[in-house]
Subunit: 212 residues, 2 copies
C-alpha cells in the first residue's frame, strides 16, 4: 500500500499527466516524448522525466514513452481500476458545478451522494446524484471516504466534525474556513478568494517576468 517516497509535488502532477495521456491514447497516438508532454501540461520536461523515474524506467532512451503502456501503468498507480465514491455537501452553485462534472471520464471517481439544507433541493436529482437532507448525513453517508465541502463558511467546522465522526478519510474544502480535524485525516483547501487575490498580488509585484 505504501508507495515509497513519491514526492508530494510529483503526486499532485500525476492526475494531470494521466488525463493528457488518456487524451493522447484516445487520439490513437502511440508514443510521446517528455518534451511534448511538457508543452501540453506546461511542466518542465526534466521535471516530467524525474517524476516518471520515481516509478522506474518507463520510457526508452531515444524513443520516448509508449502511450498505452504509460497509461496502463498510471491507471494502476492511481488506482483507476476501482471507482472512488465521493459525497458532496452543499448544493449551491459551486456544488452544482461539481454534480454536473463527469469525473468518470478521466478519473475513476463518482459523486454518489449529495446533501443540502434547502428543502427545495432535498429529494431532487442533480446530474444523476440524489440530494439528501443534511440532517440525514450520518445515516446516509455509509462508508464514503471522501467528501467535497461546498457549504457556507460558518457551517464548515460543524459538518467537518460530523464527517470525521462517520469515519471520513479526506475532505476537499472549498470554504474559506480552515477546518480542524484529527491529523490522520487529510484536508485539501481550495480557497477561491485567496487564489484570486494571490493572482492579483503576483501581477502587481512580479509582473515584468513570469517565474514559476
Amino acid at each position: 500500500m505504501e508507495q515509497n517516497k513519491i514526492p508530494q509535488a510529483t503526486a499532485k502532477r500525476l492526475p494531470l499527466y494521466y488525463r493528457f495521456l488518456n487524451n493522447l491514447n484516445q487520439q490513437g497516438k502511440k508514443r510521446v516524448s517528455s518534451k511534448e508532454l511538457s508543452d501540453a501540461v506546461k511542466v518542465d520536461s526534466a521535471t516530467i522525466r524525474r517524476d516518471f523515474s520515481y516509478f522506474g524506467a518507463l520510457g526508452k532512451k531515444g524513443y520516448g514513452y509508449n502511450v498505452e503502456y504509460l497509461l496502463g501503468f498510471f491507471r494502476s498507480t492511481l488506482d483507476q481500476h476501482e471507482v472512488t465514491e465521493v459525497a458532496l455537501i452543499g448544493v449551491g452553485n459551486l456544488g452544482t458545478a461539481f454534480l454536473h462534472y463527469n469525473f468518470m471520464k478521466n478519473n475513476n471517481i463518482r459523486i454518489t451522494t449529495a446533501f443540502d439544507a434547502d428543502t427545495e433541493k432535498v429529494g431532487t436529482d442533480i446530474g444523476g446524484v440524489p440530494v439528501y437532507d443534511i440532517r440525514d448525513l450520518e445515516e446516509k453517508l455509509e462508508d464514503i471516504k471522501v467528501a467535497i465541502l461546498t457549504v457556507p463558511a460558518v457551517e464548515a467546522q460543524v459538518i467537518a466534525d460530523k464527517l470525521v465522526e462517520k469515519g471520513i478519510s479526506g475532505i476537499l474544502n472549498f470554504t474559506p474556513a480552515r477546518i480542524s480535524v484529527p491529523k490522520h485525516i487529510r484536508v485539501h483547501h481550495i480557497d477561491l478568494a485567496v487564489e484570486l487575490q494571490a493572482l492579483v498580488y503576483f501581477l502587481k509585484h512580479y509582473s515584468l517576468d513570469n517565474p514559476e
Copy 2:
C-alpha cells in the same frame, strides 16, 4: 513597484493572513501572536514569522503583533486601497458561484463584467454583474487586467487568445485546458478534477500519517 524577493510561497499565503486579520480586527481584537495565527490558518508559526519578516520587523518581541497595524500594513502591501476589476468569462454553475461571491468584503476585488454565449443569460444581471454576449468581448472588456475563465475546456484557448490580444495581465483558469499565452502573462490553473484525484491518491498512498 518591484517588491524585492518575497518568496512565492509567502505571497500565496498573504491573502490568507489578511483575511484572518480582518476578522480579528472586526472582532475588536488588539493583538495576536504567531501561535494564534498558526492555529487559525494552519500554517506553522515559524513559517508565519518568517513570512512577516520579509516585510521587516512588524511585531514586538514578547508581545506579538498589533492587529490594526499589521492589517494596515498588509492592506497597502496587497494593494487593497484600490479596487481591482475583474472580468468573468463563462456563466455556468461555477461562474455563477463567483458572481455571487462578495470579494469586496475581504478582498478589494470586484467582478464588473461577465460574458457568456448563451442568449438566455446575455442581458441579465447576476449578483449585480451584467452578462454580455461573448461575441462582444473585445468591445466590452475595456482595460480590465484580470479574467476568470470558467468556460468549457474546448473554448479556453480561443478565449485566452482574445484576452491576450486585449491586453490582459492575468488569468485564473478553471478549465482543464492548459492554455498557452505569452510569457509576460500570468496564468494560475485551478483544476478541480486534478485536485480531487490528487486527494484520492494521497489518501491511498500516504494515509497513515498526514504530512504537509
